[in-house]
């Protein structure tokens, strides 16, 4: 009995990791498409999003089943709860990748500001690294690493603020830039949200490892 249950838990873990990799790929592609003004790649992100959503549904269904049929406790329960909660965060991250991709498609033809695009590329790089690292921390069940990742979210927030005020300045100087800069602001805020979801997943990794539900890098004091 126990062996069967363990195989099912292992399976759940593997499917969650796959979903994580798909989401990371979506973020990577949406960022790459934005930086390179690649409309085709952006469309690909949009077209593939339904696969991520289906993964989430499958993971949810399997988790409910395991809870109902196996009545898991302690570590077993935490494994399932982590997948259940973190898969929703992953799914939302996928949605933001789609939003970035949509902005990429819209941004075509707008007047550009290369300095701001550079800033966004830099911010995107940090977010991408965070989402790669968080999957690694999950696979290794490494709560120390998860805490460290959550901490880098501060950098993301700082970039967001900088991009925001830069956009406002540019818009004051040149009204032709309003449409493009509004998109920049939106993309930056999507990236900022992705950073927040990564932080959430970090919290679930800490829970998985230690059993403690914690708030890492709270936004309250901002």
């Amino acid at each position: 009995m126990r062996k069967m249950f363990e195989e099912e838990l292992q399976e759940l873990h593997a499917r969650f990791s796959e979903m994580g990799m798909m989401v990371n790929e979506a973020i990577l592609k949406s960022v790459k498409a934005f930086v390179n003004h690649d409309k085709v790649l952006a469309q690909e992100v949009i077209d593939h999003d339904h696969l991520i959503n289906e993964y989430e549904l499958k993971l949810e269904k399997k988790s409910f089943e395991l809870i109902a049929l196996q009545q898991p406790v302690s570590t077993d329960l935490r494994i399932i709860v982590t997948v259940l909660k973190a898969s929703s965060d992953l799914e939302r991250m996928g949605d933001h990748a789609v939003s970035i991709a949509k902005s990429t498609i819209r941004v075509k033809g707008n007047k550009r500001v290369p300095e701001i695009e550079e800033q966004i590329a830099e911010m995107a790089n940090i977010v991408k690294t965070m989402s790669d690292d968080v999957l690694d921390a999950y696979l290794k069940n490494d709560s120390a690493k998860a805490k460290k990742i959550a901490f880098t979210d501060d950098e993301v927030d700082q970039h967001f603020k900088k991009i925001y005020s830069q956009c406002v300045e540019e818009m004051k100087n040149d009204t032709d830039i309003v449409e493009g800069a509004t998109d920049y602001m939106m993309v930056a805020s999507y990236l900022e949200r992705v950073g927040d979801y990564v932080t959430n997943i970090c919290e679930w990794i800490v829970y998985l490892d230690t059993g403690k539900i914690s708030e890492l890098n709270s936004n309250l004091d901002e």
Partner: protein
């Protein structure tokens, strides 16, 4: 933390069946009006420990108990202890319902009769109150003079609990009280125990993990004669300290 908070305090309890050491120094205290579940694989000593709490092991030949067990601060293994009085204070319910081959009424009134109660009206009141608290009154109120043996297993077990309640114990010990019962009867006994907790201290041995997690405030995990871990049930079942506890509650052994 003052000591008088505990209703039962046990310290370094060893128990030997002949030369075999069945309990290897168990120290465990119980808060009044709480349900404590004792869990662990067969042969771990949990039932043996439960029976030390009202000296039920005295009835087995060649048993030696060392260490101290105090009920309300009084050593229950002192030579001065009256075991009959002790077992009224600390009542016990067993795995198999064991009603006497008397009427339902006489089963519940048994303890009152042997303690010499003559007041019939008072006895009626106590019998009814006990059967009500044991959640079996509605089942039996019209057939109090029928043999208790004519009842279903679940009803018999609740009559046995009423028999314990009639002598107003402080502590109720239950040794796998639902393992011979169907799920509905078990559920009735579980909800009854949670209600009884308002008045009594309850210690229950169970092999049913979900039962322990549903009804108990504290859980103690035994393994091979040792107490491995004791704590809040919600902690034991979500994040126990010891790996052995984790393995047992997750069904990795036992």
């Amino acid at each position: 933390m003052t000591e008088q908070n505990f209703i039962i305090e046990s310290k370094d309890v060893h128990l030997y069946y002949g030369k075999k050491e069945a309990l290897k120094g168990v120290s465990l205290d119980f808060m009044p009006k709480e349900i404590t579940a004792l869990i662990g694989p067969s042969g771990c000593g949990k039932s043996t420990y439960l029976r030390t709490l009202n000296r039920m092991n005295d009835l087995i030949p060649d048993v030696t108990v060392t260490g101290t067990i105090k009920l309300n601060g009084k050593d229950i293994y002192s030579p001065k202890m009256d075991t009959v009085a002790l077992r009224k204070e600390v009542g016990m319910v067993f795995q198999q319902p064991n009603p006497f081959p008397f009427s339902i009424y006489d089963n519940v009134a048994y303890g009152l009769n042997i303690s010499g109660m003559k007041d019939k009206q008072k006895m009626d009141e106590i019998v009814e109150k006990s059967l009500r608290r044991a959640a079996v009154w509605d089942d039996v109120k019209d057939k109090l003079n029928k043999s208790a043996l004519s009842l279903s297993g679940g009803q018999q077990q609740r009559v046995c609990i009423a028999r314990v309640l009639a002598v107003e114990p402080e502590v109720i010990l239950l040794d796998e009280p639902t393992s011979a019962l169907d799920p509905i009867s078990s559920a009735k006994i579980e909800s009854m125990l949670v209600e009884l907790k308002e008045r009594y201290t309850i210690v229950i041995v169970t092999h049913n993990m979900q039962q322990a997690s549903r009804i108990s405030d504290k859980t103690a995990f035994f393994l091979q004669g040792d107490l491995i871990e004791m704590g809040q049930t919600r902690k034991i079942f979500t994040n126990p300290k010891e790996q052995a506890t984790e393995d047992y509650i997750s069904g990795r052994f036992g």
